[in-house]
């Protein structure tokens, strides 16, 4: 699997390169600035890009902007964004195009190599991975909004896990209930959010979007 990596701190860039290579990824480019990233993304068209938000030369949100503009050019280009801090604002911007294949994690999550590599794989596979911190902030601020307010406690838990990019099987394992029950919950969530039966993966993305926006999907 071909990866473009953008991180300005040498130690972290090196560490990530080793980690990903150790797990069978091929690093096609490891860059350290916004313009380089832009160039690498359009040139290499990687299977997944791992991008730090803050990059030289401005040290603002270069990485995020580069990722967003690359995704405008190549819709659905899988991007996993890493940051020292997570903001709902950025999460929404990343999810806005609704094509999935997006990840947004705190840099701390790299510590747990297995989970991190898993997240990279899921993003590359078109899934959506949101940091638990984004999710918990959303829970705090959208607690009483419609139509999410209609969901039961259990359904909210399932949706939360879905937003973190887990499959039904993984959610079942986490919540200690059967996969069949999870299936029922997800179906109920889709109905309550008004998502017509179609491609299941797409519906999952839309449900997560609805969750993040606190509103009904269009």
């Amino acid at each position: 699997m071909r990866v473009v990596l953008a991180e300005d701190l040498y130690l972290l860039r090196d560490g990530l390169t080793h980690l990903l290579q150790a797990h069978g990824f091929e690093i096609v480019a490891a860059v350290e600035s916004g313009p380089e990233l832009q160039h690498a993304l359009t040139e290499h068209r990687p299977d997944v890009a791992v991008v730090d938000v803050r990059l030289p030369p401005t040290f603002t949100d270069e990485g995020l902007q580069a990722a967003l503009s690359a995704r405008r050019e190549v819709p659905g280009l899988p991007v996993l964004v890493l940051s020292q801090h997570v903001e709902q604002l950025y999460a929404r911007e990343l999810l806005a195009d609704g094509t999935g294949a997006i990840g947004y994690l705190l840099k701390d999550r790299v510590f747990n190599a297995d989970q991190f590599v898993d997240a990279v794989r899921r993003v590359a596979g078109g899934g959506t991975v949101m940091d638990p911190e984004v999710i918990s902030k959303l829970l705090a601020s959208n607690a009483r909004d419609e139509p999410l307010g209609k969901l039961t406690e259990r359904e909210r838990e399932v949706l939360e896990q879905m937003a973190e990019g887990r499959s039904n099987a993984a959610i079942a394992q986490r919540l200690f209930i059967s996969e069949g029950a999870i299936g029922k919950h997800t179906a109920s969530i889709f109905t309550k959010l008004g998502l017509a039966p179609s491609d299941d993966d797409n519906r999952r993305v839309l449900a997560v979007l609805a969750y993040l926006n606190g509103t009904a999907p269009h």
Binding site: T60, D61, Q84, H85, Q88, A96, D108, F111, K137
Partner: protein, 667 residues
Amino acid sequence: MVRRYSVAMARSVAFAGLAIAGLLGGLLLVVALAPVFVGLVFTHMPVVEGTRFLPRLARRLSGRWSTVDIPDPYRPAPEPVRPEADGWYRDGDQLFKHGWWPNYQKRFTWIGEDPATWRDHLWMLANGIVGTVLGLLPVAALGYGLFGLIAPWQPFGIAWYAGVPLGFAPLIGLALMVLGVLSAPRLLTAQGKWNRLLLKVRRERGAKSRPRVWLGDRLRTIGYGAAVAAFGVLGFLLFLANLIVFVVSQFTGMQPLVWPPLVEASRTLPNLARARVKELLGEEIADPYLPEPPLPRPRPDGKFQAARHLYRTAGPVIRHERWKWVMTDRATWRDLAWMLLNTVVSLLPFLPAVLACIGTFGWVVPWFWEPLLAYFFDKAPKPGYTLTDLLLPKATLLGPLPGVFELVFGVLLTVLAFVITPRLLLIYAKWNKYLLAPTQAALLAKRVQTLTESRAEASDAQAAELRRIERDLHDGAQARLVAMGLKLGAAEVLIDRDPAAAKALVAQVREVSSVALRELRDLVRGIHPPVLAERGLVDAVRALALDSALDVEVTGSLPGRPEAPVESAAYFGVSEVLANATKHAEANHLAIHLEHDGERLRIVATDDGRGGADPVNGSGLRGIERRFATFDGTFTVDSPVGGPTKVIMELPCALSSPKTSTSSETV
């Protein structure tokens, strides 16, 4: 049909009854109001509250019977005073053991300040006559007409229709009866409209638009000028009082004791004049006085020093300082000069009133009046007094002149008064401004004081902030790093002997490092939020809005970025407002608007909460106010009880060159 008219008549009578009841109530009010003027405040308020049901009933009945809707105009009643945490009730700077007195005062002020109260009074008194007449007219016409029908028989031996041929009396009577009955519904409507005239909601003072009628406008201006002239008289008296006290105290050595308080009290008058200038010129006159001297601090030996004298207590030093303060303030002497000179200058705005009075009552009115008097009251009218003779020459103050001159001259004088009055008022206002506005030196002194204060506060705040960061780092990340080092050391020892235990320790180290990172993240967020650095103010506020539990709407945009410290102050201002709206205001919705008008950044936040926020009580808001003061910014909270709360933050700043706009437009 019949029913409609009879009902209207009955209602008219009821209105008349209400009018009489109102008259009685009004008289009671007059009696109850009188003791207030000698300081007995216990009678007025209960009577006002007790009689309010009368105008209220009139409003309700006007709506129901006359189809003239009159909403209640009263201001909402004040909330009762609640005891403070220590159980005492506070009213201004007074504490009370029981709540009834502050509550009574609060209600007294509420009743007295509500213009509707006084219009109710007026209605009660005036309606006693007007309402009774209007109400009884139909019934009276009906009754009197009835007597007309039987007038030919002269019932009760009274000639009801004296002077009318007896044969016509029944006809007139019939006509009167019909008129009475038919007019009843109209008069009922008139009754309602009359009630509305006095009892409706008026625009509060200040919201009044300028009158458009030239004549009325000018007449008011003339009256205003005459009233303003009172400053001349009052100023002169005050000047004399100041002069006498100054001279006498100078010789008795009491000056520091009596002179400064008098000067301070005297400033009320120039301050009132300043408010008038603001009305006339539309520009604020800044307070010209030097800031009050700070309280003295004792020397190391505990004594207080004033010039070369040492005192055991602060009193003499304070008096000395205040004496020096008023003596060295040029505004003191300018005020006194104004008081003296204004005695003469204030005749200027008074002039139009004098001219108009002389013109109208000294020349125009007598021109009509004298012939009329002569015609009616002279037993032997002089042959000259006919209408045409008004034009004949007459002896006047200016010698014999054609009769019409009196009229023309009087009219000219009056018109002159009407024409020159605004100009004179303007001249007067400018003269006032000349002496009452602060001098350049006073403005500078004020500015220095403000800057000194805000600098001291800023450096205090900065020091406190640094201390907080130091403490957080010391107790947080630093301690965690130490723990990590210890654990890694232990793992190093264990790694060969007990790999499983070493592995567990390393896992712990990872956990601790996570915690340390989280703490650092929170710390950084408190110092300078990353999203603010990355995206600028508008997006940072959007991010705040997203994290808030409220429904927050962010509008507006900035064409560039303010300097970092200003941006940061604005961000934390909004953050504090959000926190307050969430915690205290019980708000659901908050609208935040950001804009920059080329000179200042302006952020307006409006919530739908219950209001009553007071920056004095909120330490957070006070902190923000201080932070804003460093940048000459203002932080205004407008929060009437009952809401909504509106916070306006203004920070003068320039914007740097525009940065590429963000991709996010919606939140």
